[in-house]
Each structure stands twice: as structure tokens, then as C-alpha cells.
């Protein structure tokens, strides 16, 4: 269900691409079998060798001209138009996006920012079903690529440049995506989830996200353990953007950009030694005592 397959489209754009794929596929299968059939006939029909035949054959040259030039030309011109016809469906232009979300690719996680509501989160994008949402991407460090195959084509995430892709889910669901441009050691663990939900649930989520975390003993532990030197939680005194935003972390489904599932045990594992789980990532092993870890886990999971 958290499928990442290009062949299970959940939007008009992904559907258009999948349709294009099936056209390309069928044409390719036909061409392939024609060539292989000719090849088999060619080598099996009149085997035997012998003295070389040096005649030039008009018929054979004509065959090359027709099968090698005319037919391929007709085929590729048709495919070219099929491809051009699909372009509008996958391009940001022309879509009346009703909402914009900014996504920043970082080594090796995703920052997500709902500018109009000043809401920040990480590694998860919530969108309403049936509403075209413009995802504006850029990078702070190296090139990444945002790819959620069931919703749309990928778009490279390039420092110094802002690009867009539209997510317009036509059904509710959780759609997995992953960074698709090599971006360093943990490129393989740079996933994200797009959660498409009906408008009302989405609105409820937004309202909830907008609430800051209350001051509490847990928050002071979080600050006291040095976590807030890298992580922001809305309502906390310090708002560092070095690591993923952890506001409402208890509602999130994964840890470490899709590396682990968000359960208390796995969260404790992560805080104990993130380097064992995702070697090379930018959160160091902090060597905290076990009770402190458990307190942090309880606190983070309570951030609903």
C-alpha cells in the first residue's frame, strides 16, 4: 500500500505517464518480435556457408530503405506526438494550483513548509485529495530529486533554483517517494511519504499542526539534552533548522526519512545510535543515559 510503483497511478499526471508507458511498451514488443522473427528466419532458413555471394540485391536494399528508414520514421514520429500530447499533464504550468507547499531537500531528509499557514514538518507531505497542490522545491546543499511515482514525474531539487511539480491525488492514500538523484552516502535512505486525505481530514490536520507544543518537563528535557541545538519544535525557545522539524512528531509515520517505522522501540534505537541505523547521517550518536532516552521517546511520541 505504500507502493512506489509507476504503474499504479493515483493522479491524472501519473496516469498519463503510465498510459504513455503502455503505448511505448506495446510498440516496443511488436518491433522486438518482428526483428527477432526476421533474425531467426535469417539464420535458420538457409544455413550452410559456402563460397561468398557477391551479388548486390536491389530487393534487399529496398528492404533496408523501407524497414530501416520509412517504418521507423513513421513509428518515432507517432511516438513523438504521443509524448508531446502527454506533456501538459505533467507540467506545472497551466495547472491552477490551489495551494503551495515548499519542500527543501537536505542531506538526507526533506523539510516541508506550508508557508501560508507557517506550518513546518519533515519527511511527510499532507495534501487534500482532488486539489492540485504545487510543490515548490529547492535545495540547501547538493542536488536531490523529488520522486513520488504514483503522483507525478520526478523533479530535480537543485540549489539556487526553485522548480515545481504538481501533486493532484485522485484518491486518498499514503504514497511513498524517494530521492532520485545521488546525493551522498545516505541517498538510499532519503524517502518521504505523501499522505493524501479528504479535505476535511486535511483541514483538521492543518489546524492541529498549527498548535505549538506546550511548555512541559519533556520539552525542557529535549532542550537539556541538546536536541534543540539541531531540531525545532514549534513553541520551543530555540528553532534550529539543522535537522528535521520535530513538531507533532508523534503523528509521523517514519524515523530517519523512511529508514524506521515510528514506534517507541525504534525511536529509542534511533536516539541511542542513529549512526548504526543510518551510517553517515548528520545526527551524531549522543551517548545519552537510558532513562533520558526513554523520557525523550515518551515526550516525542506525545507530540500529537
Amino acid at each position: 500500500m505504500r507502493d512506489q510503483s509507476t504503474l499504479k497511478p493515483a493522479s491524472h499526471a501519473a496516469q498519463a505517464i503510465a498510459d504513455l508507458w503502455w503505448i511505448l511498451f506495446v510498440v516496443s514488443v511488436i518491433v522486438f518480435f518482428v526483428v527477432v522473427a526476421l533474425l531467426l528466419v535469417g539464420v535458420l532458413r538457409r544455413r550452410g556457408g559456402g563460397e561468398p555471394d557477391r551479388s548486390t540485391s536491389r530487393g534487399a536494399t529496398k528492404f533496408v530503405a523501407i524497414a530501416g528508414v520509412v517504418v521507423p520514421a513513421v513509428v518515432v514520429i507517432s511516438l513523438f506526438f504521443a509524448s508531446v500530447a502527454t506533456l501538459p499533464a505533467v507540467s506545472p504550468a497551466g495547472k491552477n494550483a490551489r495551494m503551495t507547499i515548499d519542500v527543501v531537500g537536505r542531506q538526507w531528509f526533506w523539510d516541508v513548509y506550508y508557508r501560508s499557514r507557517s506550518i513546518r514538518t519533515s519527511n511527510e507531505i499532507h495534501i487534500p485529495v482532488g486539489v492540485p497542490v504545487e510543490i515548490r522545491v529547492t535545495s540547501d546543499d547538493v542536488i536531490h530529486s523529488l520522486w513520488v511515482p504514483r503522483l507525478n514525474r520526478k523533479i530535480d531539487v537543485i540549489p539556487g533554483q526553485t522548480s515545481s511539480v504538481v501533486f493532484d491525488a485522485n484518491k486518498a492514500g499514503v504514497f511513498r517517494g524517494q530521492c532520485a538523484e545521488f546525493c551522498g552516502v545516505e541517498h538510499g535512505n532519503m524517502a518521504l511519504l505523501v499522505i493524501a486525505e479528504p479535505q476535511t481530514r486535511f483541514d483538521r490536520w492543518l489546524t492541529n499542526e498549527a498548535k505549538p507544543a506546550p511548555a512541559s518537563a519533556g520539552l525542557s528535557a529535549f532542550v537539556g539534552s541538546g536536541c534543540s541545538g539541531c531540531h525545532a519544535i514549534s513553541g520551543a525557545p530555540q528553532q534550529s533548522r539543522f535537522g528535521p522539524d520535530l513538531s507533532h512528531f508523534g503523528l509521523r509515520q517514519t524515523i530517519g526519512a523512511g529508514t524506521l517505522t515510528n514506534t517507541p522501540e525504534q525511536l529509542a534505537d534511533w536516539i541511542r545510535d542513529p549512526q548504526r541505523i543510518k551510517p553517515g547521517n548528520k545526527m551524531p550518536k549522543l551517548g545519552l543515559p537510558e532513562p533520558e532516552i526513554q523520557a525523550l521517546v515518551r515526550y516525542l511520541e506525545s507530540l500529537q
Partner: protein, 627 residues
């Protein structure tokens, strides 16, 4: 007649021993060295690939660390492209071009030796990073800003950038040498429309090299300036643009695909007529298609950048150009098919590899067409679908022909036959293993698996396809092992080969196996595109040898002819053995290691040595006249 041959022997003989190993300029020795060295790099890159496949056999496998995995795929890709396929095909070119055109050596024999030594030195330069764990680690196209100091502070990238600049010297010199050789040293009568298609392919490739490589050198030079001297070509914060690297790289990189592929199809065009027992159908079409591919190949680089967010207009243009490049390939495929259909094929190992090539290459070509469709490209680029595609094109399009060539010319090069049954077994293992390794990658790509990931979670439907792939790579490796064993065994035990075991149509088959140092006792005169099938002409050559005409026995001599018509122009005196190419390559190595280690004194010393070696090289030499 005996006397003439003896004299030629004396003039062209190279003394045995280590000194001669370092000073030889015989294009056949150099060609074989190229083949062996490139194959050694193939084995290295193959082992890297097997380790990667082992790591990817299961989800969340922990065989190698992420950093090691990155080095493995970067080194694998860089090696396969720059240190295996390109030089392997140069090896065939070196060995075969002079023989096919009836010349006694390459136009610039010493430059030829230099090309080899620099290839070897730059390969060792890049691999010297491995023991230090500092192999290139940002992929074979090494995108900025990841490859800048800020993100990859160690020397991994300097090994890559300097190593590639270094090897470019070799490839460029080789290309210039091929162009002049093919234009000027063809046997009298071999007008350009009678030239073997393999030579057409090498010619087109060499022009592509000359125009494409500067872009790579420029890109890498700029990168080194950024990394070590504080320049900012690619950094947006300083007004640079990371996409500039991508443009420069792919302006080289896409033509490079054809630089790899064209000589390989030259091999195919050599094997098809001989084993179909008929002159190739559509010679002019094939020659034209070769040249067209070389040219259109320069107009499609942006299809590697469709996902970067470029304007639609420019993408549509490059999409159209990418679709168009199908046409020359179509011509080639159907000309070969027509030759087979109207011939009487003989299914020996070289021909089996060619048939395997056609099947595999058609698949790679068809997925290539898919990538010309912008939206499909944007969906599947940088996924395993691409990995499948480019292995179908590179392995299918280049390595299958290389294996065909290895078997086809083995008798010529070694004077012995390979073992036919072992050859056929190797073919089936390679063919099945190849498809089992790479076909499933199409599926995992469509299921959303990105490339260059060191691991993946289970539950996304990728596990079975990855396991199949890994099993396939084992079968493939077994097939390659059979080839290696067959070659090693046959070198010693193979049945002695005749000068023309296949009934070949080109001139290399008109001289003994292996050919004498001087290739041909008498310069052949050519009147058709299948000269070795002109029995009367070859008899005339033998008669001229007896009469002592056109022998050119006064020193290292060969005949220069006109570019288009191939009319005899003048007798050329070729340089003989020299140590300077080797010394010059060493001097260059000093420069590059100096730059790598930031020992600028050493680099300067290296430059002085380079200048000195060039001077030594050009010191006038007493003509090697009578004895």
C-alpha cells in the same frame, strides 16, 4: 622473393626482451596490449559489480558500508566506460585498422605507443586511490555540488577529475592517429567507398572523440580549479550554476555513448558478411548511418537533463532529436538482417555473439526510444529502468560485439584457433546471464526503485527482482570465466590457424596468422570493398612480390595515398622503436601525481620532464638505412 621477405624481416624486426617491451611501436603489439590491459580493468570492474549485486541481493543487506557501495558503483562505471570499453575498442582499432587498409603501421607509431602508455598510467593513477579507500565516490558523472570540496572534502574526486583529464590525452592522441591513418595510409585502390565498415566506424568515432572530449576536460579542469584554487563556476551562491557541469558533462557524455558504440557496430559489420557468406547489403547506407550517428549524437545531450526543470520548448527540441537518432540504428539493424536473410549463415561463436548483440541491442534501443519521450523520461530517469537500459546498450551494444571480435580475430592475433564448443558454451552463459541480470531491473525501475541506492526496504515489491538480478550476475560471470579460460587454453593448445580460417573479406585475412611485423610483404592493390574475396587481385599481389614491385623495403616504409580515391601518392618513412613515449608517459604521471598531492614543485618538475621527453622524442635520428 625470399630475399625481399628476409630483408623486410630484418628492417622491421624488434629485438626481444624488456627493452623492446618498452620501446615497441608495432601497432599489433600495442593493440594486443590495449586488449589485455583493458580486459584486466574489465575484470576489476566486474568484481566491483558482483560485490554490488551481492549487497543488493536482499533488502537491508549489510555486506558493504554505504561509503564503500558509493565507491564501488562510481569506480565500476568510470572503469567500464573509460578504462574498459573505450580502450578495448582502441585495441581492436590499433590491431586491425592498418591490417584492414593494407598499411604497415599506424600513421604515427610513436604517438600510438604514447597513447597506450598514458592509458595504462592514467588507469593506474585512478586505481591507486583504491588501497587508500579514496576511490571516486560521486558516480561516473560526478555531479556538482556534491563533488565539490564542501561535500566531498577528500581526494576521491581529485583522483577522478585528474585521472580523466590524464586519460583524455591518450584518447585524443589515439583519435588523431586513427584519422590520419585511415585518411592517408589506405592501400592503393581502396577509395573511401571501398573502405571496410569497421574503418568507417573508427573514423566516425575518432572525429567524435576530437569534438567531444574537450568538453569533459574543460569540465574537470573547472572542477579542479574550484576544489583547489577557490574558483566558483558551479556555485549559485557566487553566481555560478550547477547545471553548467551537467551540460558540459553530457555534451561529452552522450557522444561518448556513440564513441563506445560505433566501433562495436564496426565489429558487427565485419562479422555479419563473413558468417552470412555474402557481401554486406547496403554498404553505403551503413557507412552513412555511421557518420550520421556520430553527428546527431552531438544534438541530444539534454535528454540526460529532462528532470532538471528546463523550459518545455528546449526539451521538445531535444526530444525530437533523440527520437531521430533511431533512424540510423534502424538502417544498421535492417541492413544486417537483410544480409543474413539473403546469405547462407554459419553459426560459429563470433556470429552467435553478433546475434545475441542484435537481440539485446534492440531491447536497449527500444527503451532508449522511450527515454526520448519526455514525460516517461521524467518518471523513470535515475531509476533502475535506466540502469537496465544502459546496460542493454553498453553491455549489449558494445560488450557482445567485443566478445564476437575476441573470437573472430583470435586466430589472426594468436595464430591458433579457440575451442569452438567452449566458445558456444560461453555465449549461452553470457546471453542467459546477461538477460537474467538486467531484464529484471526494468521491472524494479518501473516499481520505483531509484539507482545508486546501497540498500532498500522490503515490502515495495523489489526483492524478487533484485535476487534474480544477483543470480543472473553469477551466471554472467561464469560465462566470462569460460571465455577467459578458452583464450588462455587456446593460446597454448589451440589448433594452428590458417591465414584465413573464416573465408574473410578484408585484408587482414590475406596475410599470415599472426601477421609478420611488416603486415604485408607487398602492399596490396584493392579493387572492391571485399578485397580478400578478389582472388585474382590477391594473386596479382603474390606475383608483384615475386617481381619485386611495390615492396618498400628501404626502412620502415608504407605507402601514402589520396584521401578520397586512394591513389598512390608517396612512400612514407615511418619512425621505428623509441623509449620516449614511455618516458613521456612517466613524466606526465609525475605531473598528475604532483597536482593530486598538491606538490606543485613536483608538478613543475614533471612539466620540465615532459618538455625534455618531447625534445628527446624529436631529436633527429639517423635513418635506419642499410643494416
Amino acid at each position: 622473393m625470399e630475399a625481399h621477405v628476409e630483408r623486410l624481416e630484418k628492417v622491421w624486426a624488434e629485438p626481444a626482451g624488456i627493452v623492446s617491451f618498452l620501446t615497441s611501436v608495432d601497432h599489433k603489439r600495442i593493440g594486443i596490449r590495449y586488449l589485455f590491459t583493458a580486459f584486466a580493468f574489465f575484470v576489476a570492474a566486474g568484481i566491483e559489480a558482483l560485490v554490488m549485486r551481492a549487497q543488493l541481493a536482499r533488502p537491508r543487506e549489510g555486506l558493504v558500508s554505504p561509503e564503500t557501495f558509493d565507491q564501488l558503483f562510481s569506480l565500476h562505471g568510470t572503469t567500464m566506460i573509460f578504462l574498459f570499453v573505450t580502450p578495448m575498442l582502441s585495441g581492436f582499432g590499433n590491431y586491425l585498422v592498418p591490417l584492414m587498409i593494407g598499411a604497415r603501421d599506424m600513421a604515427f607509431p610513436r604517438l600510438n605507443a604514447l597513447s597506450y602508455w598514458i592509458f595504462l598510467a592514467s588507469g593506474l593513477f585512478i586505481y591507486s586511490s583504491v588501497p587508500f579507500g579514496l576511490a571516486p565516490n560521486d558516480g561516473w558523472f560526478n555531479y556538482v555540488p556534491l563533488s565539490e570540496k564542501a561535500f566531498t572534502p577528500d581526494k576521491n574526486i581529485d583522483f577522478y577529475a585528474l585521472g580523466l583529464i590524464f586519460i583524455t590525452i591518450s584518447t585524443t592522441a589515439g583519435a588523431a592517429n586513427f584519422i590520419v591513418t585511415i585518411f592517408k595510409l589506405r592501400a592503393p585502390g581502396m577509395s573511401i567507398n571501398r573502405m571496410p565498415l569497421f574503418c568507417w566506424a573508427v573514423l566516425a568515432t575518432s572525429f567524435a572523440v576530437i569534438f567531444a572530449l574537450p568538453s569533459l576536460t574543460v569540465a574537470n579542469t573547472m572542477l579542479e580549479l574550484e576544489r583547489n584554487w577557490g574558483f566558483h563556476f558551479f556555485q549559485p551562491a557566487h553566481g555560478g550554476d550547477p547545471l553548467l557541469w551537467q551540460h558540459l558533462f553530457w555534451i561529452f557524455g552522450h557522444p561518448d555513448v556513440y564513441i563506445i558504440f560505433l566501433p562495436a557496430i564496426g565489429i558487427v559489420s565485419s562479422v555479419v558478411p563473413v558468417f552470412s557468406r555474402r557481401s554486406i547489403v547496403g554498404y553505403e547506407w551503413l557507412a552513412l548511418a555511421t557518420v550520421l550517428t556520430g553527428i546527431v549524437g552531438f544534438g541530444v545531450w539534454v535528454h540526460h537533463m529532462f528532470a532538471t526543470g528546463l523550459p518545455q520548448i528546449s526539451m521538445t527540441f531535444f526530444s525530437a532529436a533523440s527520437f531521430m537518432i533511431v533512424i540510423p540504428s534502424g538502417i544498421q539493424i535492417f541492413a544486417w538482417l537483410a544480409t543474413m536473410l539473403t546469405g547462407r549463415p554459419v553459426l560459429k561463436t563470433p556470429f552467435l555473439y553478433v546475434l545475441g548483440f542484435v537481440v539485446v541491442f534492440v531491447i536497449g534501443g527500444l527503451t532508449g526510444v522511450m527515454f526520448a519521450a519526455v514525460p516517461f523520461d521524467q518518471q523513470t530517469t535515475d531509476s533502475y529502468f535506466v540502469v537496465a537500459h544502459f546496460h542493454y546498450v553498453l553491455f549489449g551494444g558494445a560488450v557482445f560485439p567485443i566478445f564476437a571480435g575476441v573470437h573472430y580475430w583470435f586466430p589472426k592475433m594468436s595464430g591458433r584457433m579457440y575451442h569452438e564448443l567452449a566458445g558456444q558454451v560461453s555465449f549461452w552463459l553470457v546471453f542467459v546471464g546477461f538477460n537474467l541480470t538486467f531484464f529484471p531491473m526494468h521491472v524494479s525501475g518501473l516499481l520505483g526503485m531509484p539507482r545508486r541506492v546501497y540498500t532498500y526496504p522490503s515490502g515495495l515489491g523489489w526483492d524478487a527482482y533484485n535476487l534474480l538480478s544477483t543470480i543472473g550476475s553469477g551466471v554472467l560471470a561464469a560465462g566470462i570465466l569460460v571465455i577467459v579460460l578458452n583464450v588462455l587454453w587456446s593460446l597454448r593448445r589451440g589448433a594452428p590457424a590458417l591465414s584465413d580460417p573464416w573465408g574473410g573479406n578484408t585484408l587482414e585475412w590475406s596475410t599470415s596468422s599472426p601477421p609478420p611485423h611488416f603486415n604485408f610483404p607487398v602492399i596490396p592493390i584493392v579493387r572492391s570493398a571485399d578485397p580478400n574475396w578478389d582472388l585474382e587481385d590477391r594473386r596479382q599481389d603474390a606475383l608483384r612480390l615475386e617481381r619485386g614491385e611495390l615492396l618498400l623495403v628501404d626502412g620502415h616504409q608504407t605507402l601514402a595515398t589520396t584521401v578520397l580515391e586512394g591513389e598512390a601518392e608517396e612512400e612514407l618513412h615511418m619512425p621505428s622503436e623509441s623509449i620516449w613515449p614511455f618516458v613521456l608517459a612517466l613524466a606526465f604521471s609525475v605531473v598528475f601525481f604532483g597536482l593530486l598531492l598538491h606538490l606543485y614543485g613536483v608538478a613543475t618538475l614533471g612539466c620540465i620532464l615532459v618538455a625534455g621527453s618531447i625534445a628527446g622524442w624529436h631529436r633527429p635520428q639517423r635513418e635506419l638505412q642499410d643494416q
